[in-house]
Structures are given as structure tokens and as C-alpha cells.
Amino acid sequence: MADRITLKVTRYDPGRDHEPGFQTYEVPLRKDWVVLDALNYVKDKVDGSLSFRWSCRMGICGSCGMMVNGEPKLTCATFVSEYMPGPVSVEPLKHFPILRDLIVDISDFLEKLTKVKPWLIREEERRVVDGEYLQTPEQADTFRQFSMCINCLLCYAACPVYGLDPLFTGPAAIALAQRYNTDSRDQGTNERLDILSQHDGIWGCTFVGDCTRVCPKHVDPAGAIQQYKLTAAKEWIKSLLMPWGGR
């Protein structure tokens, strides 16, 4: 095994540069090093000005997503040795505005997340003294998968529709809406549907399916969106057959 590998990293300083460029660094190649370790090596030993986000280094905080050789990846869970003999390109997540080097602006996602009301909606809230809402393990299973989203946004970087149309609500936010819709304790499906069945909501998705392919937590946002379409269509038929069936 060679003992060094070249990283090709995006650099961009909005105060200085007109557009992003690349800079290459040579780093040691170790069996247990992930791409993030290589970046940290650069930051600590070579060039302190390289900027990127990270925190947990165990694939759970969702902050270290970048494009590694063109694929959206959690850099804390991607071994450098997979890219032998190199060079490895490391770029900021696609489809988001680049703030600086490897850091992108994700405020758009947070706005969308808030819009789809990702919280438990009840007609009547239970008092704490009355104990828990009962939920069988099977009922809990129906939404578990969708609740695993770590908001890493790899799926947005993989979704061409989001790249083309930033108004599209996008995979993770819809999957999280569906997480609450399918929670047996929730009664907010219709409220969310009003928001998501608008054009930029679920209908923009053409089922490219790459969101699911790149998701490191197996959330399957593509599936969530198709299920959502089905629900929306059912509701539409219902409202057609029973226009008076006021909600």
C-alpha cells in the first residue's frame, strides 16, 4: 500500500475569489483514516485556513457531508483507502450555495423542514399524568425508518430535481413529514398535506431515486415521497366524492 495519497479539495473564499477552485494536498494514507481525518490532517499540519464542518466523527450528527469523487458521502464514514491510488476529490455538497471552501448554506433546508410541520399534531393533547400514548412495536415500526434521518442532506445533493428547482421541498423534509404522518399518535396528516400537495411539494419529484441510494441511514426518502403521493391522491378522490366532507 502506498503511504501517501493526493487530495483535491475545493477552495473558495468569497472575500477574495470569484469562483471556487481546487487545491491539492498530499496526506498520509492509513488504513483507519476516513476522508475527514485526512482533511483534519491538512487543517492541523498543513493549511489552517481550510474550512469544513464536522463534529461527532461517528456518522450521527450529520454535519460532515461532502462530495467525494463526485458522490455525496459522510466524510467521517468514507475511508481514504477506498480511493487508492488517488487523487481523491473533495467538494462541497452539490446543489447548495457554497459559503466557503467545503461549507454550504443549508438554511433553505431548515426553512422547508419547519414548513412541513415535523412535530406531533393532536386535536387534543393528553396530559402527562394520564401516561403515554399507547403504541405497539409494530405501529412504531411503520415510521422508524423515516425517523432515522440525520439531516445530512446527502439526498439533496443527489437529487437533480432539487438542483434544478430549489423550490422543491426535497427528499429529507418530505420523509420527515411522512415520519409524523405514519406515526399512530399523530393527527396532522391533513394539515401537512395542504402544504405538501402544492406543486413544489411532492409533485416535483420524478422518482429519480438517487436520494435513497445515497442515504447513509437507509431512510428511503424516495419511498416516502411515493407513499405521500398515493395518500395525496386518495385524499383528492375523497374530496371529489365528498366535497362536503369538511375537515
Binding site: P20, P97, P160, G163, D210, R213, A222
Partner: protein, 135 residues
């Protein structure tokens, strides 16, 4: 003074290339899948042509059959067949995702949803063929 607090909101938003769907195999597959719809439309046109020829009489019908034997049309239809089968396969494979059927609380495995689709496809195709070929 251009102080260090100077607010620099400038972000860089890269444009998606027009040829984005060439960038990755899964994107290309996606575009091919979407393009299959053109061949479905072509099938409808062909069918309507056949019906109208049938209606106009035997001579017209024979003429249409002649036309269909031209290499260019044979090639086109061969391509059509490839695309419509591609459509069928992708459609069946994606169907379970949208349905997420559960029986007694347990998710039904994808195979259980996909397999009946394929069986129905075979059975119905055979039935159609039988209807047309028995005479």
C-alpha cells in the same frame, strides 16, 4: 475601514449542467426510463393507425402491413420493444416503494409485491397472444 466585521453574504451557486443526466449511471438510467414514455406514445400512434387502416378496408390494411416491414420501422419497433420492456421492469421494481403494504403490522417483502406483478404480466401477455393467434 474594511473591518473584519464586514458583512460578506456572497455565496457561490453552481449551475446544474444541461447534461447532468450523463454524469452518473443512475441518472442515465433514470432519463432512459423517462424517455420510455415516448415509445409508449409511439405505440398508441401505431395502434390508432392500425385501427384506422382496418376501418378503411383490406387494401389499406395490407398497405400498412407492407409499411411495417420496412427495415426502418422494424428497427424502430425493436427499439420500442426494448424501451417498453424497460418501462415494465422499472415500473414493477419501483411499485413496492410506493405501496408499503403491511399485513398484520409487518411490512410485506418487496418480492411478494413484485412477483405477482410479473406473473400477471406473463399471464395477460399470454392471454392476449392466444386471443390473436388462435384464429
Amino acid at each position: 475601514m474594511a473591518g473584519p466585521t464586514e458583512y460578506l453574504p456572497k455565496t457561490f451557486r453552481p449551475r446544474v449542467s444541461t447534461y447532468w443526466w450523463l454524469g452518473r449511471w443512475s441518472y442515465l438510467k433514470f432519463i432512459l426510463r423517462e424517455l420510455s414514455s415516448i415509445f409508449i406514445a409511439w405505440f398508441v400512434i401505431l395502434t390508432l393507425l392500425q385501427i384506422s387502416a382496418l376501418k378503411r378496408g383490406p387494401a389499406d390494411y395490407v398497405q400498412l402491413q407492407e409499411w411495417l416491414r420496412r427495415p426502418i420501422l422494424v428497427a424502430l419497433n425493436a427499439l420500442s420493444l426494448f424501451f417498453v420492456v424497460f418501462h415494465t421492469v422499472t415500473w414493477f421494481n419501483l411499485a413496492p416503494k410506493a405501496m408499503s403494504i403491511r399485513v398484520r403490522g409487518k411490512p410485506v417483502s418487496n418480492l411478494l409485491i413484485t412477483a405477482p406483478n410479473y406473473l400477471a404480466w406473463l399471464a395477460i401477455s399470454a392471454a392476449v397472444a392466444w386471443l390473436l393467434l388462435r384464429g
